[in-house]
Amino acid sequence: MLANEIFEQLKAEFGEAVIEYNDKQPADSYVVVSANGLFEICHRLRDKDDFLFDYLMSLSGMDLGENVGVVYHLYSMKHKHKLVLKVAVPKSDPKVPTVETIWRTADWHEREAFDLIGVHFEGHHNLIRILCPYDWEGHPLCKDYETPEFYHGMKVSY
């Protein structure tokens, strides 16, 4: 199934929560959804027979300036089609519902996005840092991130 057909079906079912479909760029086209409806949409994408997106290839956090975004790359083992989902939330309140109960692989991906970008995944059972030390401050992959001078008395930048 092509991405625009999936978009039409999602739009018909979820209405407002599915915001736009973009296929103007040279490579991948994507569907933008709102954070509120994300969990239901993902659930439907995994379980409906026409979609069956049972494989979450990648989950990436992104710093979009004023917003932070999360990009989901989905794949279906049975139908062998792909979909890119995007969601954006303001940096002041970066709350996105977790999808770790839908795809267990999202657990570590979400921890990584939280660690590096600072997206707060609501409902995640163990949202702690994964790559940086547990008591690190700041989110290193943000564009406005300043490397701290010292970490526990050790010089960081050199």
Binding site: L56, M57, H73, W108, E112, L131
Partner: protein, 383 residues
Amino acid sequence: MSEKKRLDLEYSQLESDRMRINVGPQHPSTHGVLRLEVEIEGEIVTEVVPHLGYLHRSFEKHCEKMTYPQIIPYIDRIDYIAAMNNEWPYVMAMEKLMGIQIPEKVEFIRVIMAELNRIANHQIAVATFGLDAGAFTPFLFFFRDREYIIWILEKMSGARLLYNYFRIGGLAGDVYPGFKEDCLNIVKQVRKTNAEVMDLLIYNRIFIQRTANVGILPADVAINYACSGPVLRGSGVKYDLRKDETYSIYNRFDFDIPVGTGEVGTLGDCWDRNMVRVNEMEQSCRIIEQAIAQMPDEGDVQSAIPKRIKPPVGEVYMRAENPKGDLGFYIVSNGTDKPERVKARGTSFVNLSVIPEISKGYMFADLILILGSIDIVLGEVDR
């Protein structure tokens, strides 16, 4: 001795305690600097908590500060065992983003390089898995053969491990004279060693007892955890990007996808995962033989390399079948010569996340084998 301690314990008060031990970051069998916090009751593992990040080198942050071609050497260092395979999805993603058509000869050389490196990677994987089980000799057999493969890759690229050989739109250099003969000799040698190791290790009674029915990963759990590569195929799922999402020229070659069969135990156990790797080496040999036979002699490998690499605004997610699974690169371009964001979807990172799920209830010695059968590289886990 300052004072004598009084020991008036009653035996009914004694409790059998669970013990928490740290496996790693300095441990012979964690394949790098991984720390597993393991809770054991006697010898039975009750909980495993992986702690990552000891090898975090800020790959993604580095990428935002560098031009596109400058990123390639850093990509080598993600999975340093199979660096050729790592570079491939990245250059493919860039070629897709910029709409570059690459010459046929480049595709052939890329396939041969990637498959040679896949064999080298699987040799390390099977060898270290045997080492985890206590068999030392197959380890050295494999490392001896891997050396020959590395010599070829060194002659092609100038480096033993971190090749920096693929270019966006081409390659760093053409093949050297005698390349084809070298490759065919390697194929012969690999097959000979594999036959030997089959007797010595794979079908050894003790080895089967150790690995069969251990660390069983059912297919649905594997898919839900987005496992890929031999870990997923070991569970019987016939999923290989070279066939399922054919990229480059893999549709021209005749090869099979080995999957786990549960031949000596349950489907999806450690033995199956290991066996998939052994069988994949044979399939890679077949691909190399066919590619050598079909490869055109003429052609310029650098003709399609663009002078200025400045992709249009856009984003692309590209993945390729790495020896360890599918490695994906999500590249967002903002129209300049530096990327807005590069996300590497590390195979080992995702495959490792299944460890707490499948290692509960097995013995402590099995945990090491399960970890070995997943074949992680910490450079890819922590990036």
